[in-house]
Structures are given as structure tokens and as C-alpha cells.
């Protein structure tokens, strides 16, 4: 295939106008010794039809979608109203770039403004940005922001925060003289408040907790934030499963200073991990240290309402090395999908979505933990994930279930060596009662037979 629109005649005329005889001359500034002397070694080009067949063949090697899966852990299967696909694939949304020219980008800008509003409403904050890359790097940006605000060297991070998020934070701060201390978890699977109190002191810039946490347990943001405040530290609330915000109180109303999260649950398919949608919000007081693009409302010369990218003196294209973040291109199209999703579900739909998740997951938890050889690991309240402990090593059980086309969840021993027999089960509104029952029956049978 080729996507060139010039005919040979066009090319000839254009070269003539430029005053050269061949396209090769256009590259005369590139010294001969670094020019490629041969063709790139790439597969022969494919036509559209061949290309589709080629990828269909590769796609079939993915057998995941043939399985009944209960995987979550930072990526959640949720229903997506069809209008999200239908509208977001319009050229006018998918084919512009960053709205640098507001007069021809009002659609994108108003969508960002609505997205910011929705994120503020969900998180209980004054301001939100136009998006960040994902939940993990968003959490890292929140830590960098807290460090700039507090100028203190230490950050406390709960071990119940998603292990990948912790790894990304660690990677981001490594070269900046910030020290990380991890805070243990309690028997209930919540952040261990005694350990937190012990580690909090006047060197602490921020405390990072996640709710629902990596074990699916709902954390007490209020208590965390109160403790943080008592040491003049900021409370960073991470939300990896944003569907929970349909029923759980907004972190901002529970005392969080910065909320950062993953918006994949809002109309973005699992997509093997990306593109996803980082979001962040905070109080107006922190605006000068807030990272990322922001849309704001203004008027045009005729007094009509319009929207522009604003407060850009925080950003790299103006402030260069002193910018609040290096982010430039973000995840605008994912934010658009989230906006369509949230506005389509609306007030009642969001509540219902969260309600169904919490009900179905609790139904599954109760059903599964009644099986002989299966134990509910943590007693804390859950949203749509929970940890089960098996009496036997789960790898054999997992293999047997796999033969039945069932992926029971995520094994935790890689992330938490102290939990070798545990796995994390995720149940959302996409799982039917019948499927949950099938998991329970199969697990019971496999345990009995092993």
C-alpha cells in the first residue's frame, strides 16, 4: 500500500519548480557515508486485504477471549455503551492533534472541560487536568507534585498500592533524592495504621494509599488523611478502579489532598494494557504545581463562550526544565471516550454500575469462600475484587481450571511472596451469576479431585 497523493507528473513539476532533477538531491545535506546503501530489510508490503488476513491469523493465537476470566488487578472488564465507539471514531475526534488553535478545536476543548468537570465531581476536588498517561505514571506525577509542594524528602507508600504503580513511582523518583518507605498491611488487608503512624514524621512529604486497594479492600481514606495532616504531609489517594467512585464517597470529601487514578473502567477496553487513561485532581490551592494540560472557559471577541488550553506557564513548552511535568501529548482520545461513557451512564447509571459490582463480587466471595479448601484471606470490605487463599498450591489448581477454560484470577505470589497460596479474583457487572456459579463449581471439583 501507499498513502501518497502525488502523481509522477506532479512530482516532476514540483522538482522542476524547486530547480532540481531528482528526489535524491533533496537529501544532499545528508553525507554519503551515513546514507543507507541498501533497502531496509522489511517484509514485502501487504495490500489492505492481505494485511487484515495477516493480523486475523495472529489474533487467533490469542486464546484469552475464549476463557471465562476473573482477572482484574488494575485492568477491569466493564460494559461499554455502543455510542462510545460510534462517536469516538469520528474523524473530527480521532484525527486532530492537541488543540493549540482553539478556534478550530472547540469540540476537543469542550470535551476536555466536561471531562475535567466529571473527574472533579467523581473525586470531590476543585480542579482536574486533561489526562495523564495511565494510573501508574499518574501516581508518580502526584508524588513529584507533593514533593514540590512540601520540599520534604520522604514519601510513604502503602504496600496495598498496586505493585506496578509502586514500581513506576520508584523508577520516577529514583534520581531526585526522594526516599520511599513502604507501609505494611494489616490482617484485614488494609493499610496498617500502627505502622503508618510509626513511620510518619516531619520528613514525610506525602502518604500514598489506594482504595479499593490491590487486594480489593476499601481503605479508610479519612483516617489516612487525618494522620497525614497531623504530620503536615499530603494525602495522595490513588484510585485504580474508578468504577468504585459511583458508590464510594469522593476521596476529596474524605480529606485527600491529591487524587490520581486510572480511568480505564470508563469506556476503554482492556486492550492488553493500553492505551489507558490517567487522571488527576486536587484543590485550587495547588494549581501552580499541578502537572498536565488544562482547559479553561473564556469568551471570544463577540462575547461568545469558548474554551482554551490555559495556565500553560506551568508547562514544558514555556517553562522548559522548570515545568511541573514533561508531559506534552496525553491520552486525549481516551478522555473523550471516558466523557462519552460517563455522560451516557449518567447519575443513575454510575450508581447502578458500582452497585452491581459490589453486589456481584460479594456474592462471589461468599460463594467461593464456602468451598472446602478455600479461605477468604482478608476481612476488610471489598468493592469488586477479593483475595482467596487455597489450602494447596494454586499453580496445579490453576492449571486444572485452565483446562476447563477458566482463569480464576491473578496469583499473588510474584508480588507478595508472603502470600504464596493466594489469588486475586475480580468480578464485575460483566460476569453473570451463572458464570460465577460455574467458577465455584469448577473450583470445588478441582480441589476435591486434586
Amino acid at each position: 500500500m501507499s498513502y501518497i497523493s502525488l502523481s509522477d507528473k506532479d512530482k516532476k513539476e514540483m522538482l522542476e519548480r524547486i530547480g532540481i532533477s531528482s528526489a535524491n538531491e533533496l537529501f544532499r545535506t545528508i553525507p554519503d557515508e551515513i546514507r543507507l546503501k541498501k533497502k531496509l530489510n522489511l517484509p514485502s508490503p501487504l495490500t489492505e486485504t492481505e494485511l487484515v488476513h495477516h493480523f486475523q491469523k495472529i489474533a487467533k493465537k490469542n486464546t484469552y477471549s475464549d476463557c471465562l476470566s476473573f482477572l482484574g488487578g488494575g485492568a477491569y472488564p466493564h460494559l461499554i455503551p455502543y455510542v462510545v465507539d460510534y462517536l469516538s471514531l469520528r474523524s473530527e475526534f480521532i484525527n486532530p492533534y492537541t488543540p493549540y488553535q482553539p478556534e478550530v478545536s472547540q469540540g476537543t476543548l469542550q470535551v476536555i472541560f466536561e471531562f475535567q468537570t466529571l473527574i472533579c465531581q467523581l473525586t470531590g476536588m476543585d480542579i482536574a487536568n486533561a489526562s495523564l498517561y495511565d494510573g501508574a505514571s499518574g501516581a508518580a506525577e502526584a508524588v513529584l507534585m507533593a514533593h514540590r509542594l512540601k520540599e520534604k524528602p520522604r514519601v510513604l507508600i502503602a504496600r496495598t498500592v498496586h505493585p506496578q504503580y509502586r514500581r513506576v513511582i520508584e523508577t520516577y523518583i529514583k534520581n531526585l533524592g526522594i526516599e520511599i518507605q513502604e507501609v505494611d498491611y494489616s490482617e484485614r488487608g488494609e493499610v496498617d495504621f500502627e505502622d503508618l503512624s510509626r513511620k510518619l514524621n516531619d520528613k514525610t512529604a506525602a502518604v500514598v494509599t489506594q482504595s479499593p486497594n490491590f487486594f480489593g479492600i476499601i481503605e479508610d481514606f479519612k483516617k489516612v488523611s487525618e494522620l497525614a495532616r497531623s504530620s503536615q504531609a499530603l494525602s495522595i489517594a490513588v484510585v485504580a478502579e474508578a468504577a468504585s467512585l459511583g458508590i464510594l464517597e469522593a476521596p476529596g470529601k474524605l480529606g485527600a489532598d491529591i487524587v490520581s487514578g486510572e480511568g480505564q473502567s470508563f469506556g476503554i477496553p482492556l486492550s492488553f494494557g493500553g492505551p489507558y487513561l490517567g487522571f488527576m485532581s486536587c484543590s485550587m490551592d495547588f494549581i501552580r504545581q499541578f502537572p498536565g494540560r488544562i482547559a479553561g472557559q473564556t469568551k471570544d471577541v463577540d462575547g461568545k463562550r469558548g474554551f482554551v488550553l490555559t495556565l500553560s506557564t506551568r508547562e514544558q513548552h514555556i517553562r522548559r526544565e522548570r515545568a511541573t511535568s514533561n508531559i506534552c501529548t496525553n491520552q486525549a482520545w481516551c478522555a473523550l471516550r471516558a466523557t462519552i461513557f460517563l455522560e451516557t451512564l449518567g447519575r443513575e447509571g454510575m450508581r447502578e454500575l458500582a452497585w452491581q459490582n459490589i453486589q456481584k463480587a460479594n456474592y462471589a466471595l461468599e460463594k467461593l469462600s464456602r468451598i472446602k479448601g478455600v479461605k477468604r484471606k482478608f476481612q476488610g470490605s471489598i468493592f469488586n475484587e477479593f483475595v482467596l487463599e487455597l489450602s494447596k498450591s494454586p499453580s496445579k489448581i490453576e492449571a486444572s481450571l485452565r483446562k476447563k477454560g477458566i482463569i480464576p484470577g491473578l496469583s499473588l505470589k510474584e508480588f507478595y511472596p508472603e502470600l504464596p497460596n493466594c489469588f486475586l479474583v475480580c468480578v464485575t457487572e460483566t460476569h453473570t451469576k451463572e458464570e460465577i456459579d460455574r467458577l465455584a463449581e469448577s473450583l470445588e471439583k478441582v480441589l476435591r479431585e486434586s
Binding site: K11, E13, A23, P31, E48, F55, N95, Y100, E343
Partner: protein, 485 residues
Amino acid sequence: MIREPLIFEISAEGKRAFRLPKLDVPAKEEIIKNLPLRREVEGFPQVSEVEVVRHFLRLSRTNFCVDEGFYPLGSCTMKYSPKINEKIASLFQFLYAHPAASADFVQGNLEILKTAEELLAEVTGMDAFSLQPSAGAQGELLGMMLIRACLEERGNPRKIVLIPDSAHGTNPSSAHICGYSVREIKSNEAGTIDLSSLAQSMNDDVAALMITNPNTLGVFEADMRKIAEIVHSKGGLVYMDGANLNALVGICRPGDMGVDVLHLNLHKTFSTPHGGGGPGAGPVGVKRIMEPYLPLPVVERKENRYLLNFKRPKSIGRVRSFYGNYLVIIKALAYILSLGAEGLREVAEVAVLNSNYIRKSLEEDYHLKYKTPTLHECVFSDKFQKVHGVQNIDIAKRLIDFGVHPPTMSFPLIVPGALMTEPTETESKRDLEIFIEAMKTIAKEAKGNPGILKSAPHNSYVRRLDETTAARNPILRWSEEKKAG
């Protein structure tokens, strides 16, 4: 055109656009007892499906996009995004694959990642790739982290990163987040790096040079090999910002010019849609010496099976969750496979031809600060028009009246009043002529009727917006109290 309100302003109690299937397990109120709950998300809209569709359709019609017309936004490579690649990326086995599934279930996805890494390595002459970064700036940050890890192992991470004054703003910002201080190097009269001043700046404290090639003026750094030698001879490393790779594909390769690490922008050179500001993808390519430090996990092929290696003790860690913007990577791979070697070379040839055609056609009407030959883009300025009181922003806004998207104005900082123009290879001669004619008309108007430029655009959904007030008195969200109109 109907002025579309905010969705919150058309919301009314009880309307719904979507219903979930009925809950099929017994609901138990007691499980939510003692939880920190909310009754509802306060302020969330309530609208019908028709209202949602009309809302977004009307909003969409106020956007300009590549499918509509010429979009010469310099350094952004606004080329046509092939439609079929969207369809390929939405095959359900890709779309609904969970990223935590064990390798056995996602062999197809891992094959795609590995193949994309290998083909990008071939195109750039690098030895290995990480596809994890979500965009160019995150690629830069990862690249800097790799440099730091490599130098640390050699005994000293060093302190300074050298960056030309023509660089994009993300370069200094990324270096800074990696703990480096930035020293700017001045461009010479040709708009390129001056070898002697580079040699003077280069010492044992300098970790790396961050260079964009071709640079933001569209000029190829012809001394690239010598530049790399100077940096390497003092123990530093060379980072290349690959934002402008569109000019080079199939012509020459960064890996053959002394570059140690680079990032690409798949949404630029490799045609994936820009999405109104992302998602992009910013893969990082490295030479063998940097490979041990690549982020986790790394995809490996063993006897035609693919697996994920998480056990790499020298790895810098992770810059985001999972494996990057996977669906974007599929689209870029589909693009490479549909073009092949000759198709990619033609991309560079025609991109450079189109740009030089524009340059030649407008060089008498618009000032070119640097006369050096350019590749895929050229940076005009408003110097000729300034004498009539017309600035680059006026030219840009007037272009909107002609159905053309304005060029980039915010950089390079070394050209005051810049109009950075990048046509890309997908434009027809007719579309180039529309732009050239518009620019010529505007040049005439600047002399005879500057008022029409000052008040442009004239026919857009909104006219010039008050950005000063937006920043001084920020309204960053809708709220019940501030029902502005």
C-alpha cells in the same frame, strides 16, 4: 450553527441514556453498611441517548482534522492515518485481551510486540527497543533514565545534559526529571550545532547530548558523526529525539550515525491517529550497551513461543503499567507492514519534496531566518509582515478562513514569530496549492489590508478567544453556581 451547551446544562432529573442488565444475584444492603458511601455522584448529568449523540456530533463539527484538510502543524507530522489500521487494532482478540493474562493466552499479542520491536530496530539501526513509553516525552524520560543507569554502572552518572537552543521544550524538562541540570548550546548561523562550542561544553560532567535530527528547523545535522565522536570521546552518550524521523525513513538510520538511544513518535512517523492530543506512543531504541537497563518486562522469543522476562536485575524498573499503548503499537506495525521498505523510503522522499515545494513557493513572501537546505519542514517567520503590524498569530488565524490548519508557532524559540510548516507526504499537490495560495493572499493582505488579518478568523464557530482572562481568572470546570453563558 447551533451553539452546543455543556452537557450539564441540558441535564434533567430522571433521564437515562443507558440501562444495565438487571442484577442477577440477590442484592444485600448489609454489605455496604459502615462503608464511606455517597448517595450519587453529585452534579453528574442525566440525558437521553439522542441527546448524547447530538451533543458529541455537534461538538465534533467544530473541530478541524486531518481527514478534512491540510494540517501543516510543524514537528507534529499530521499525516493521514490509514483507516484499515483502526479496524485491525479493534479485532476482538486484541481489544479484549487482559494485560495480566499469562503468556500462553496472549501469544498473538506478544508476537506483535516482538515483531514491532524488531522492525523498528531495522528502520532505525538500533539493537533493541522498549515499547513501554506512552508518548514522546515519556520516551525521552526513559531514554535519560537508561543513560543514567549506564553511566552509573560505569562509576559516575554525571550532572549535565547538553541541549541545543532549538530543541522542543520536553527535552530539557525530561532531562530535569531524571535529575540532570540542563546546559543550552547555541545554534550557529546555519541553525545547527556548532562543533567547536560543543567541544568546549563537553567535559566529564556531561552525561549526554540530546539532539533532534533533523532538528526543529528541518535542517539535517550533517556533522552528526563528528558530534557523536566529540560526545563519546569525553565519555558521554548521544540521545536522539526521533520526532522528525519522517524525513529519514529508508534514507539513513540514527543507529548508523553514532546515536546510543532514541525515541520515536509512532503517532507521527508511523501514522497512528493523534486523537486530539494522544494516545501516542514513544518507543525507545537503544544500542547493545544500554539493553540491560530496559524497563520490565522484556518480550523474548524461544522456539517460536513468546514469553515475558521480568527477571532483569539491571533494569531501571518501569515507566508505566503493563506494556505501553498496545493498540497504538498494532496500528504502527500495520503501517510498516503495508508500506514495506520501498514504501517507507517514498514517505521520506515525498515528505521532503512537499516541504521543499512549499518553501520554494513561499520564500519570497515569507522570511526564512535560516537559508540552510531543509528536509521535511521549514520554519518561516513573520518578519516581512511585522513591518505592517502583522504577527504570526494573525497569519495563523487568517489561514483558518481558507480551510487550512495553522502551522506551529510556539517554537523553535530561535526563530521569533515562527511559522513551522510540515506538510507530510500524504498531501496532494492540490492541497499544497490551496495552502500556498492562501499564504500568498495573506502576504498581500498584510500589506494592503492588515485589519482583515487582525480580526481573523471570521467564519469559525468561535472567533479569537481571550486567553489572558482565561489564565488570570481560571474557570476550569462547570459548577452549579457558575452558570456562565
